[in-house]
Every structure is written in C-alpha cells, then in structure tokens.
Symmetry: C2
Subunit: 189 residues, 2 copies
C-alpha cells in the first residue's frame, strides 16, 4: 500500500540499522486517517471471507484493528497481555516470545467471545518472527473457530514470520513489506 510506504519513508526512524521506530504515526501517536485507509484496504483484501470478528493483541494492534472493523461491520476482540482484576478466569491462553523484551509472556482471551461459528481475521501492527500472531492463531483454533487470514501493517520481510504463518495454512496480507533496512535507507518489496 503506497500510502503506508510513503509514511514509513517520511516519518519512520531506523535505529541502529535494524529497529524501525514508527511511534509518530503507528504505535504512540496514531494517524487515524491513515488507519482508516488501511482498514479499507484490509476490507478489500478479505472481502470474500465473511469475517465475523477481528482479533488482535494489546496495545499497538487495537487502533488498527478498530478502524478495520468499522469497514467490516464486526466487533474487535483483543488478547490481553496484562490481565486486570476483572478478567474472566475461564480463558484461552497462549505463550508469546518477545524478541525486543527477550522474554515470554502469556496472552489471554475470555472463552465467551470466540465460538465455532466465528470466521476470524487476525490483525497486528508488525510481523517479524510471528510469535504474537502464532499465539493469536492458537487461541482462535483452541476455540474451534476459523482463522480466515492475517492482516499486517508492516512486515519485516527478512524475518521468518510469514513462513511460520503460511506453514499453518493461513493467508497473510501485509500492507507494507520491508525487504531490507540500512542506516538511512529502506527497501520495500
């Protein structure tokens, strides 16, 4: 999606040659008009899938998933990293490994909000190793629901996430795929 690539080129910062910082528009300050266009594109890509629910993970996925959900006319469900005192005890759980934090954590989703009849679109801001998305897929499958696809804002095409998800038989659509990054340059597929 050219609009997103242009935004990354203009406002993304590459730190140490390997970390792409996009907090001015994607995960601290949020460019909602851009997210709305991204939502339209996800709708176009997955239009035929009869999506019933969009599933994401806190925190950065929530706003992107919410604007997409507006175009699909379905609810969002997000997996929690930080379970509050109000959280249902009756949860699906999965373990996710964070390479930036160098540790595993548990994500949780109440069993009440996923059913066998759901056709779920998983949406997240980044795809790198695929660990978060694999955790979300595991939860959807534990619920007996169908993963209709995975929609990603920015994919690090030089990491293994896409292969890990496609090996599970699931379609991945990324709005921007980065093939390589250097100190001052970024190359899209």
């Amino acid at each position: 999606m050219r609009l997103l690539e242009e935004k990354i080129e203009k406002d993304g910062e590459i730190i140490g040659g390997c970390v792409l910082k996009v907090d001015s528009f994607l995960n601290h300050q949020l460019d909602i008009n851009l997210f709305n266009e991204m939502g339209k594109e996800f709708k176009r890509l997955f239009e035929k899938e009869n999506i019933t629910k969009i599933f994401t993970i806190e925190t950065s996925g929530i706003a992107i998933a919410s604007l997409a959900a507006l175009h699909f006319g379905v609810p969002v469900l997000f997996a929690k990293k930080h379970a509050g005192s109000n959280m249902d005890a009756n949860c699906y759980e999965a373990s996710v490994y964070s390479y930036t934090k160098n540790r595993s954590y548990t994500i949780r989703t109440s069993k009440r909000f996923l059913s066998k009849d759901d056709r779920v679109l998983i949406i997240d801001d980044f795809l790198a190793s695929g660990s978060a998305v694999k955790g979300l897929i595991q939860i959807v499958r534990d619920a007996g629901a169908h993963v209709a696809g995975v929609g990603i804002a920015i994919e690090k095409g030089f990491e293994s996430g896409r292969k890990a998800v496609e090996d599970l038989g699931i379609r991945v659509e990324s709005l921007a795929i980065i093939d390589s990054m250097g100190e001052n340059s970024i190359k899209f597929r």
Copy 2:
C-alpha cells in the same frame, strides 16, 4: 446517550453490587459500531473547540479515542503504562493511582507529540475517582497545551472524578452517567 445506556443495561454485568463489567462490548470485546456512534456524539459535543489532538491512556481508551478521532480528523496520542524498549527517554510523566489494583503507576508520553499549539480532548472509557484523567491533564498542561475538555464513555456519578476535573476548570461530558448500582439494577442520571 441512550444507545450506550441501553447497551449497559442489556450487556453490562454488575458484580458484588459495585463493579460494572462491560468486557463484552467496551474493554475486551469492542462494539465498534457503538464506538462509531459515540465518536459522532463526542464530535457534536466538542465541535466548537477546534480540537487538534485526542489524548487517552492505554489500553481501554484507545479504541474509543480512535473512533472519535475519525470524526474530528485529528491524530490520537496515548499515554503508556508499559514503556517498551523503543520509548523516548524524553517524556512527560504523571503518577496515577489505581483503586482496582490498589497501587500507583507511572504513565509516560513522548515530549515530541504535544506542543503549546495543541487543543487537546482527553477521552477515556471510565470516570470514577478521576485519577487517570488527572494524570492526563497534568501531562497536557506540562506540555503547555490546552485541555479543551474531557469526554468519558461511562461515568460513575457517585464517585468524585467529575468534581476533581471540574475543579481544575475543565469541562466534562460523559455519554452515560450512573447514579447508583445495585445487585440487579442500574440507575442513570
């Protein structure tokens, strides 16, 4: 806002007579069509304020703020409770006391995304003691920006949050105000 009150009556759960659980539509599963209507109502209420930015706090405020921002045509900024490795060192900070968790925590916002010219609408899902909203107000004021108002989805009208915010000279608009709750009943203002 009658639509939100009806949703609370239909799908909210009152636990122990004092906790309102709304995770089926407001803070775990998210009713995006409802949020879109709430966003329109926030726009109507604050239309004359020339809002330049919507400011909220992770996690539950983000989706509500995002749908509102779509109607204002402005970005969302959210204060972080959990600073990742990518977070700017140069931050505004505030301390927030959580009554549900019975402890204080620090919220952070990069200094790059608030300026003296900003006219900020603060949006959050709940107003009870007002501690989170007061932390957000402090950050906006530390940046020299103007707090144009506070928009809340559900206010617990029997707690002190509204008074705390109004005493700072700030307008509060809540889409549903609960005057009292019992085991099986809820009374709106």
